[in-house]
Symmetry: C2
Subunit: 173 residues, 2 copies
DNA sequence: CAAAAGTAATTGATTAATCAATATCTATCT
DNA sequence: AGATAGATATTGATTAATCAATTACTTTTG
């Protein structure tokens, strides 16, 4: 088996960071905890990321990338698009729970660089959804995209807080 | 002018806390900053609240109370209810920007006691909205309440992040 | 003067980030 | 193959700052 070096190690730190940040939030996550999960020493984290903040942003961007990719993987007919995308959103918390958690966590962080990254990530997702809705000829695409994103975020928050009543669509299931 | 004592001082700390927490988030707010804004010394805060966490929860609960009260103040006919409530929600970020900010901030905090308070606050709001919708005979009250809350939260997040495009209903205004 | 209101000074814990050192490879030369 | 050297990977020890919370003291007021 190929042993990990350089870039691989960086990947490991990013994955470990995703898990720990998702569970404990930004401020309650220490670089030591991430290092431990990655199986390396705490100072070594700083060989790959100059600050904890920079590491978090890298992790957050990956999370947004993955979520967006999940949407892009939805193959659907124009008539079914809204339905299929909604389904994809609801499945996210199963397939990418940590990425969803990170997205929610990012919203509440006041550090300016992190806030900027969060805004960009959310913008990207909204832009993609809107574009798809328009391409599918969905009427009132703007309004529908807004509703779609609103439902998605509420679904995420409901999952993250473990407050199922907030998102009460699985009622009839 | 009547000088503040006891309970008044506590109120001052709660108000100062609201402002500072809303601007800086939970973790970046120090008890010293709150004390400064309240015009007292840092240790004196602990005469009124045994921990910073307890103080935050008190501030958060007040914020939820005020938001709920704003809804309760909406006088409306059954036919107009959804419309009027939506309007009330949109006005919240003007009347109660700090309370809204706090609500958003609360979502991302992992401390268990704070998370519990956040969940309870959101539950209270949802329960009230649902009850009102039902009382007004709005069909599909559950579903409508969910949509209503989702839109409201998105509106809040959009305001808190200063990302207006997210909530694109004021487009035609 | 005694209680209430308040503060200055300090502590103890935490933790991001730095630094200096060591271990582990990889390649080259003999 | 075995010695040698340079680079790359990795760590232990430490630091410097921050901050919630405590303690012991002072001021105000009725």
């Amino acid at each position: 088996m190929v042993r990990s070096k350089g870039q691989d190690r960086k990947e490991e730190i990013l994955e470990a960071g995703l898990e720990v940040f998702a569970e404990r939030g930004y401020y309650n996550t220490t670089t030591a905890l991430i290092a431990e999960k990655a199986g390396i020493s705490q100072p070594y984290v700083f060989r790959f990321f100059t600050t904890k903040e920079e590491l978090f942003i890298a992790v957050l961007n990956r999370a947004f990338d993955r979520i967006l990719q999940a949407f892009k993987n939805v193959e659907s007919s124009p008539e079914q698009l809204d339905n299929d995308m909604t389904k994809a959103y609801e499945e996210l918390s199963v397939q990418y729970p940590n990425e969803i958690a990170l997205q929610v966590i990012g919203i509440g962080i006041t550090e300016e660089t992190i806030r900027t990254a969060t805004k960009e990530g959310l913008s990207r997702i909204r832009a993609y959804v809107l574009e798809e809705f328009k391409a599918a000829g969905i009427p009132d695409a703007e309004k529908n995209a807004t509703t779609f994103i609103a439902m998605g975020m509420m679904c995420n928050i409901s999952y993250f807080l473990d407050l199922p009543e907030l998102f009460a669509f699985n009622k009839n299931k």
